[in-house]
Symmetry: C2
Subunit: 330 residues, 2 copies
Amino acid sequence: MDEFALIDHLCQRVSAAEPHVVHGVGDDAAVLACETGEQLLVSTDAMVEGTHFLERTMGWADVGFKAVMSAVSDIAAMGGQPRHLVVALAVPGGRPLTALEQLYDGLAEACQQSGCALVGGDVVRTDGPLAVTVTVLGAVPAGQALLRSGARPGDTVFVTGYVGSAAAGLAYLLAGSPVPADVALRLMQAHRRPLAQVTAGQVLRAAGAHSCNDISDGLASELNELARASGVRLRVRAELVPVAPEVRDYARLCGLDPLEWAWYGGEDYQLVGTAPPLAFARALAQCAALGVRLTAIGRVVDGDGVVVELPDGRVDVLAARGYNHFAADR
Amino acid sequence: MDEFALIDHLCQRVSAAEPHVVHGVGDDAAVLACETGEQLLVSTDAMVEGTHFLERTMGWADVGFKAVMSAVSDIAAMGGQPRHLVVALAVPGGRPLTALEQLYDGLAEACQQSGCALVGGDVVRTDGPLAVTVTVLGAVPAGQALLRSGARPGDTVFVTGYVGSAAAGLAYLLAGSPVPADVALRLMQAHRRPLAQVTAGQVLRAAGAHSCNDISDGLASELNELARASGVRLRVRAELVPVAPEVRDYARLCGLDPLEWAWYGGEDYQLVGTAPPLAFARALAQCAALGVRLTAIGRVVDGDGVVVELPDGRVDVLAARGYNHFAADR
């Protein structure tokens, strides 16, 4: 199968149907319709074998699924609707076609769950590890994108879902400590199949949230980005940070503090942001009706950086160290 | 320098200013304005060291320049205006920062020449070769994108610029045969610094061309794609294919037929397409006024595939074999 036949073969596994697609995969570029009153959102994310995933911790479908969700999550963090994506795949020799098919099946599943259509791609040969680069396009009502820089003193700091689950899942996959089957499944799913919070992002935007960020590099890192971009201090209470029951259980078994995973783990693809108290209350009610967990974990004050109130009353500065590809060697 | 500081540092080298940029680099996603009456174009292209370029044939600035031009060329082939791009870079350990800075300087130069702004990026670590994935967004008046499928019997087959130059340049860079300095320079530039035909694409669209494709994989391959997508036959005269004087000279020196480079070489990023004779004449006049070479090389007839009339009167079927990453091992 040659390059073009391979792209066609793989792309057929992913839906190209979405109301704004005029011409999808198959020409030099895709042609897409824009709606009046909207602005366009675009973000790109690369995942490389060995750096972002290991064959022993992720199936190929998981790799495709997570690559899409990781990119879609950036659109969710802007309060937008993801619509279209293009995928560039660098493939080492000798990789069986079935692995690529599974990867595209994972892409397809994530596209379907987030309302996206695949509209283009490139498949190239590499002498190195497999790499997937997903670029996602989305839309947001003009002027309403949720930026990192919008946090204001008096805002409530919120987070969606649970945090630390993906890191706990990776720890479980690498260590393999004995846990009940349902706990193991939940931990593994959290690492392999994170769900971008598209609906929550739109609810938060519509409710009047001031700022938002997705949790790709750990809550500590994302909170610090919000504080820095907005020129404010975030004051967070450690005991309010939502950690899933199975993550607490697994942390106890490992003799660890589950908050370490929440602060520094990353890849949860939940949303963290700030909203005026009334807007937060509106969002909370709507999220509850939709079955989406939304938790207030602190507030925005004058100052800079992130401080965390510990259960024993101490107050610590929460530094931004999260997962970072280049911190070690540059 | 950590991952975020590195992205910021590199992105500062490339202009982010373009009238449709609402928020550029620095948030989860870029925010871009759409114009009423336009449709959006998107395309992605990956370039991997060892597969698409070698350190001994391309400088880092050339790699950045060519990565952008290769992606922008897809927008040119649709008759569109490139506007925004996002770049994902996978970097092996030990690569000096100056190499990345040069790569981004090359990106910047190509962006400036094609009227594009960099609006986002990702930089990740890889154990493999350096890889650059460029996704470019452009715009076209609604309903006017030039597709591959629009060729109709009676159309004139055209090509912009010269073809085969990039392949001749690569041959020169690999073999290093002695040629005059100005010839060497032109050959190397053709391989390292191809120029996407953005203006020509728009002129051809406005003049009423029926179909278009950019030459990334060799004229033979691109002509066959047009024929297949449109359900027609393209009949081309070999002696009309525009080959640059320095390429003819270098081919003579090597004892080769320069048309081999034109048919099968690729990476010229010229445009090939079809237009009704009157539309072609209009485009020809406008291109001449702009100093853009546009050449009629044949015509569209009923049938399928591509046939080429040779100078000795023979007629051959021109097969699609061009550069193809996967043809060899799948």
